[in-house]
């Protein structure tokens, strides 16, 4: 593989973090093909990133930020590059999670709230740490967490009670 990293090194990073990178990409891109493409691009960037990571936490945070940036960039161009194939995209199917209602509800949230929920409730970051990764103020992230959970609850209640 190209860049300054050996094939073994990139593969080791891949195996350590593919799950997390893919989850972020799927959560932000909302469909499997785009999530796979974005995740692959993230690891191509790992190959091309010339500097060593300071420590495992730096490596992980770098991948989170890069995955988020990659998805944001792809989404910026989504309408122009994929509009013609929108119908085809809708026909794509994939194995939905068992908690399909919750997943659908999560996808209705704004990107930043989805990301904050994932980092804090799944990856175990504190609001302050998540804020650092997302380049925001900790109080902003705390607000997003509260708003996100509130909206999820509302959506799920509507679905449950009709």
């Amino acid at each position: 593989m190209k860049g300054n990293r050996s094939t073994e090194e990139v593969e080791a990073i891949y195996h350590r973090h593919i799950k997390m990178v893919y989850q972020i990409c799927l959560m932000l891109m909302k469909n499997v093909p785009d999530a796979e493409d974005a995740a692959q691009t993230v690891f191509r960037k790992v190959m091309e990133y010339p500097k060593p990571f300071r420590d495992p936490e730096h490596e992980k945070a770098w991948l989170i930020v890069t995955a988020r940036n990659e998805c944001k960039n792809q989404l910026k161009h989504w309408w122009r590059t994929h509009r013609e194939s929108e119908e085809a995209m809708e026909k794509l199917t994939w194995e939905q999670p068992e908690d399909g209602e919750l997943w659908d509800a999560v996808l209705t949230l704004p990107q930043h709230q989805r990301m904050a929920l994932y980092l804090c409730y799944y990856q175990g970051y504190t609001a302050r740490e998540a804020a650092e990764i997302m380049g925001k103020n900790p109080s902003t992230v705390r607000t997003w967490l509260v708003q996100g959970r509130k909206k999820l609850k509302e959506v799920l209640e509507v679905e449950y009670h009709g």
């Binding site: 796979e36 940036n69 309408w79 509009r83 409730y121 380049g135």
Partner: protein
């Protein structure tokens, strides 16, 4: 729903082992293909790329729009004529005593939005890391009497990671200027742009968040004057129909469409003669400022619909704050359009036919 439900749900969206293997295989395969191509076709490819770049550059220069602005707004070659009268070539640069060079490249504008492309080059030896860079700057019109008119709005420098080259010390930023109500418009003004600082927000040890200043430009106070033409790239629409926002029937002061943006102004917010009322402001903001992009849609003459790519700006002003009882929302369009082809606009599910 509790934390456990969320964790379980996120667990379920992990890639399968088969997906992991497939993605890794694709990663290897792409690399091998690149490697083979590099060995076998290097000379041919270089010539081809050079020719393509020359053609692209020639076209972009002829049409006057930087490729990076085209990429950001999703402007294809076929759309260039639609934005051609909204382009101002600037190409002004300055190297500061601290070693940083700021190049103001181009401005793409309409009546209320200015999008300024800026390249910043770090001093030799500076190691740039991937950050969500922010650039602070000031703008001020120099040929407009501001005695009875305000000047403000949403401004901010957005980092363009795909256009930057951190390994070679270059950061590209897009500076947004979105005018608020009662700031007039951008047409015909001479705008003074003053870079202030470049950096990012980060956490300092155990303390609160702080702005990490990478470059401070304030000591030298270099300014660039941008002269914006008087011709409007967009189209102003009027309507007698009010817009219902959170139960309030608000007169629509104007609707404005340009190739890159959509704006609406409302007046008659329920504040006149009232003390500041945070709940009402928040209630209106929750509707008008909602980031749900389907809240506004343009319908074109051929029946197609154009959605919004981003909500740039939302203002709810209150007389008690020395402002006006007016509101403004500005969106960036998901597609480049010909404003003359807009047949109606839909805001919050309420349709407004396009009328001059």
């Amino acid at each position: 729903m509790d934390d456990l439900d969320l964790r379980r749900m996120f667990d379920q969206i992990a890639p399968t082992q088969e997906q992991e293997a497939t993605m890794l295989d694709r990663l290897h395969r792409t690399e091998r293909e690149e490697h083979t191509m590099k060995r076998g076709m290097k000379r041919g490819l270089v010539a081809l790329v050079a020719a393509a770049l020359m053609m692209t550059a020639a076209f972009a220069v002829a049409a006057g729009l930087d490729q990076r602005l085209m990429d950001y707004f999703g402007i294809g070659q076929e759309d260039l004529t639609l934005v051609s009268n909204g382009i101002v070539q600037v190409d002004k640069s300055h190297t500061y005593k601290n070693g940083w060079t700021v190049e103001v490249k181009q401005l793409l504008f309409d009546r209320y939005c200015g999008e300024i492309l800026v390249d910043l080059t770090a001093p030799e030896g500076t190691v740039l890391t991937e950050q969500d860079y922010r650039m602070d700057f000031q703008t001020l019109p120099t040929n407009r009497d501001l005695t009875n008119q305000g000047w403000g709005g949403g401004i901010g420098g957005e980092y363009l990671p795909e256009s930057s080259d951190l390994a070679h010390g270059r950061i590209s930023m897009l500076l947004h200027v979105h005018l608020e109500v009662a700031s007039g418009d951008l047409l015909g003004i001479k705008l003074k742009l003053t870079p202030e600082k470049l950096g990012w927000w980060g956490l300092e040890e155990e303390n609160d968040w702080e702005f990490h200043t990478l470059a401070d430009f304030r000591e030298e106070s270099w300014t660039v004057k941008l002269t914006i033409p008087e011709e409007d790239p967009g189209r102003t629409l009027t309507t007698e129909q009010p817009l219902n926002v959170a139960g309030y029937e608000l007169p629509v002061k104007q609707l404005y469409v340009s190739p890159i943006s959509f704006l609406y102004d409302v007046s008659g917010l329920p504040f006149r003669g009232q003390p500041f009322d945070g709940d009402t402001v928040d209630g209106l903001m929750a509707v008008m400022g909602d980031e749900e992009l389907t809240n506004a849609v343009l319908t074109m003459a051929d029946g197609s619909q154009v959605t919004m790519a981003a909500r740039y700006f939302c203002q709810i002003s209150h007389p008690a704050e020395g402002m006006f009882d007016q509101g403004r929302v500005i969106y960036r369009l998901a597609d480049i359009i010909d404003p003359n082809q807009v047949s109606s606009v839909t805001i919050l599910d309420q349709k407004f036919p396009a009328a001059e």
